[in-house]
Amino acid sequence: MAGFIAYRLLYVLPISIGVSLICFALTYMAPGDPASSIIPDDASPEVAAQIRAAYGFDRPLPIQYLLWLWRVLSGDFGVSLSTGRPVTDEVIPAMMNTLSLAGGGALLAAFVGITLGTLAAYRNGRLSDRAISAVGIAGMSVPQYWLAMVMVAIFAVELGVLPASGMGQPGDDFGRTLSFYVLPILTLATVPAGIIARSVRSTVSETLQQEFVQALEAKGLPAWRIFLHVAKNAAGPALAVIGLQFANLLGGSILVETVFSWPGTGFLLNAAIFMRDLPVMQATVLLLAMFFIVANLLVDILQMLFDPRVKSARRG
């Protein structure tokens, strides 16, 4: 077991290197000279050459990559081209905003998904099961940016009960601040809730069909105690799905944040793309991907703690 965790931890290393390579390559995939975005338009050729040398653009690519990686590892992502502030000052607060949104969304999705999924599994094949399954499919098929617009149309425009965008003012009272979270979190939670509900439904109903459940029933155990046994067996797979969904919320938040003008990483990334602010773009993508990697790692380890058999089913 310790071996598996150690292996899984070490495996993060090559993957992270690969991810950093892709992030580095993003700059070079962009059309045109990557240095041109840093060099002012009115710079003389001599100044331009100086800037190139200063940023290492005159070195061979592998060296440039290593230099960039070294700076990143020491926490220096460069300077934002549009605001002139250090990239870290832009990305870190945005990351916090994204995490609070994704965390809230994941909690809500897990709660709704587990409840609906378990209910559906216990009502196997009946109308309520089919209804819940349909809701699950609908939930996972919905385009989130559209759902966000629908939410705004209903709750902010028609009913006028919730704010449509932003995070409010620093001086707002707690209730007012919270109200800004409601629509984005509801929107974010929909798709993962549908996916979690479907997955929990299939895991729980598989578990319910196992012989040990029949044995427990034969023993005359009350239903709620049987449920505890079932829950213990279904926990591992459910946990895996929830963890993956949390990780995906980080990516999915790009569009939702844009609709709600939520000052998170997605909003920042979107702005950076249109300003061609490559340092900010690189940093945002890299940080989000690293979060994703760590989240996947934690899911794997947690899942293995719940069910040691997982280890043998996985490669490596």
């Binding site: 310790a2 071996g3 150690a6 292996y7 070490l10 490596g316």
Partner: protein, 355 residues
């Protein structure tokens, strides 16, 4: 059954070495599988096949027996070159295989074919029987029409009328019929050696007998040489000319089928034979049948690998590995207790036992 001139579309390798040249000579075949490894797991080695040597005379059947895990099937796959041996040499009718100036791997593969145990898993579920049988000839460059003709010939030869069966799919057949298809597929390559790895073990007894008889007929008609791997000693006795007993990746006894079955010399062979139930109370043997499971091939016992389960084990058995020594006319045994001069207290008595 008339021979349907199977050579018409084919170049058969001629019998180069003459009748006295063994069809197959295997020397020092060795395959160790690495398992585990990784960051904390110590890399362990399974000695699946650990220095196996034997030869098979032309047009004879060599039976290979032993408990599961003794290396029978690995030996088969090594002989098929489906997995690469770590060491060892294979000589086909006098020509070394996959060496310069020897038989090429491609030619060798065509000359040696195999029938697998699981008749279902060994047939592609999406291919009709004729396509399955014709695949091999097609792959060797025979035109489509000729390959089909050959497939039909082979199906007919194994007792499946092509008019009825040629375009059927594997799931439409019974187990015995599927195994016939497997035999036809192997024969379509016009092989000289057929390896049968538990080929009849999964069949019902009555079907098993039919397939065994078919194999006997084919062997005579086509001049085939068989390697017959099985855990069923009665079947091995029925079909084999020679028999080889394996234990933990090593050959412990090899010899003429009558000699080995009637005068087994190795304690393991005797144990195996006496573990068969016998109907006749007078034929029941007095030796204790084998008890316990074989030790792990990852960390086999020192010296003689059988000593941990052997009632004749002495210190010499732990110190030295018994070589495969010739005893009797055509029988070789790897046991200190029956090898004269081995230092085992029963060694002298063992000399008499072989006569």
């Amino acid at each position: 059954m008339t021979i349907l001139s199977p050579q018409s579309d084919y170049d058969t390798a001629p019998d180069r070495g003459g009748p006295r040249q063994p069809m197959l000579i295997v020397q020092g075949l060795r395959k160790h599988f690495g398992i585990g490894g990784g960051f904390n797991g110590k890399a362990a080695v399974v000695r699946a096949v650990d220095g196996v040597s034997f030869d098979v005379p032309k047009n004879k059947t060599l039976g290979i027996v032993g408990e599961s895990g003794c290396g029978k099937s690995t030996t088969a796959k090594l002989l098929m070159q489906l997995i690469r041996a770590d060491e060892g040499e294979i000589i086909l009718d006098g020509d070394p295989v996959a060496m310069s100036r020897g038989v090429s791997l491609r030619d060798y593969r065509r000359s040696v074919q195999m029938v697998f145990q699981d008749s279902y898993a060994s047939l592609n579920p999406r291919l009709s029987l004729q396509d399955t049988v014709a695949f091999g000839p097609r792959a060797t460059g025979i035109p489509q029409a000729a390959a089909m003709r050959r497939a039909h010939d082979m199906l007919r030869r194994v007792g499946l009328a092509p008019e009825v069966f040629a375009s059927r799919l594997p799931h439409e057949l019974s187990g015995g019929q599927r195994q016939r298809v497997n035999i036809a597929r192997a024969l379509a390559m016009n092989p000289r050696v057929l390896i049968l790895d538990e080929a009849v073990s999964a069949l019902d007894k009555s079907v098993e007998a039919q397939v065994l008889n078919l194999l006997q007929d084919l062997k005579q008609e086509l001049g085939l040489t068989y390697l017959f791997i099985s855990h069923d000693l009665n079947v091995v006795r029925y079909i084999s000319d020679r028999v080889m007993v394996m234990y933990l990746g090593k050959v412990v006894e090899i010899g003429d089928v009558k000699d080995v079955f009637d005068h087994a010399l190795h304690p393991y062979t005797r144990g195996l034979l006496s573990s068969r139930p016998s109907m006749n109370p007078r034929q029941r043997r007095t030796e204790p049948p084998l008890s316990g499971d074989p030790p792990s091939p990852i960390d086999p016992p020192s010296g003689c690998r059988f000593r941990t389960r052997c009632s004749f084990a002495e210190t010499v058995c732990a110190e030295r590995e018994p070589p495969l020594a010739s005893l009797g006319l055509d029988q070789q045994v790897a046991c200190h207790a029956v090898t004269p001069g081995s230092g085992h207290t029963q060694a002298s008595a063992g000399e008499g036992a072989s006569q």
